[in-house]
Assembly symmetry: C2
Homo-oligomer: 207 residues x 2
């Protein structure tokens, strides 16, 4: 999947492409920036190595640059990551422009990413998508990249006949909530996330 | 996976086994009962046919009764369903005992089920399990079946080295929240679920 949408304002030309193993350093940096934004760095333990082996387990170190969507690009849980790249060539005040130069070259700068995988609703008896991460780097916010990324996931879900696209938002992130509602999403107030992790989870593995 | 745990009080002998296509009528009835309990029947559209084709897409109509866990028992999103069965033989006041007689016979009664699939955390760079449904039929509640089912999922996650087991609970379901906390789960207050579905989702598929 690749799509170009001219977002406004101002006029920025963004492209979405499937991520591969070469993009892991950029993805890791963005995940870390997201953890900082969400004030959740204490939960962060990913490394380039662990991200690479879990997201792209079957890939060659240097896959062909024209590789399109394929099963080999999905991790154990069917995870898929897409990158948004800016190729407008306009001078955006981006202090990290060099760090985030796309591995594909051509002056493209990695602006954000979305990462999602299949989930399942028994009420619908249908597969859906769960969006684990949607992130746009600070210099590229409010330019349409987030809308572009989430729209691409929704478009693929719709074309595949899936039942739902779901994700989570922090209740204090008012800008994100407003954006998601503008995208047509319902924000459900009555559900709470429960989690077993760490040593508590490990204790269940001891017979 | 099959495990027997003597829960108390009172003394009930429960067994957990992998569900297969023959269990679909029982699973569908329990999903519907869960929707009624959660006051969410307006979101319910599953049928035996849609549940069967999405949960057990590659199965024979009558799989061998001794079939153990295999990849063919997983649906498109890696979905797995386990049934809890009561085989204590004690007379429990269960008005639906005949309806929920296990397809495996032997006097076993289907008491509940758990349905889960893989998810992925970028913060951990690890796969986990997401528990979509955990349900125990009314006559069998407060007898340890819920603990048995959730413990089995947690035990498998721990043994596979997964990072997390996650699920959602309704904020008014105080008994469930208390139970999950007793199981060692953290109940996160700050996340809200967002959802694109129905006609809004379909609209993204139109270019």
């Amino acid at each position: 999947m690749s799509s170009a949408i001219a977002a406004s304002p101002p006029q920025i030309l963004g492209t979405i492409r499937l991520a591969d193993n070469r993009d892991v350093p950029h993805i890791l940096k963005m995940i870390r920036q997201m953890a900082e934004f969400e004030r959740l760095t204490h939960l962060f333990s990913a490394t380039e190595s662990s991200l690479s082996s879990s997201l792209f387990p079957a890939e060659d170190p240097v896959p062909p640059s024209d590789r399109s969507q394929s099963s080999s690009s999905r991790g154990a849980a069917g995870v898929r990551a897409d990158l948004a790249e800016d190729r407008s060539g306009f001078p955006i005040a981006d202090p990290e422009a060099e760090i985030f130069a796309s591995v594909r070259g051509g002056g493209r700068i990695v602006a954000g990413f979305v990462l999602f995988f299949p989930n399942y609703s028994t009420f619908l008896a249908k597969t859906g998508f769960y969006v684990e991460d949607l992130f746009v780097r600070e210099a590229y916010r409010r330019r349409g990249f987030g809308r572009m990324l989430l729209s691409a996931v929704a478009a693929q879900a719709a074309k595949m006949g899936l039942g739902r696209v779901e994700w989570c938002v922090l209740d204090w992130n008012e800008n994100a909530i407003k954006f998601y509602q503008e995208m047509g999403a319902e924000v459900h107030q009555e559900w709470r996330i429960c989690r077993l992790a760490g040593e508590v989870l490990q204790s269940y593995g001891q017979d």
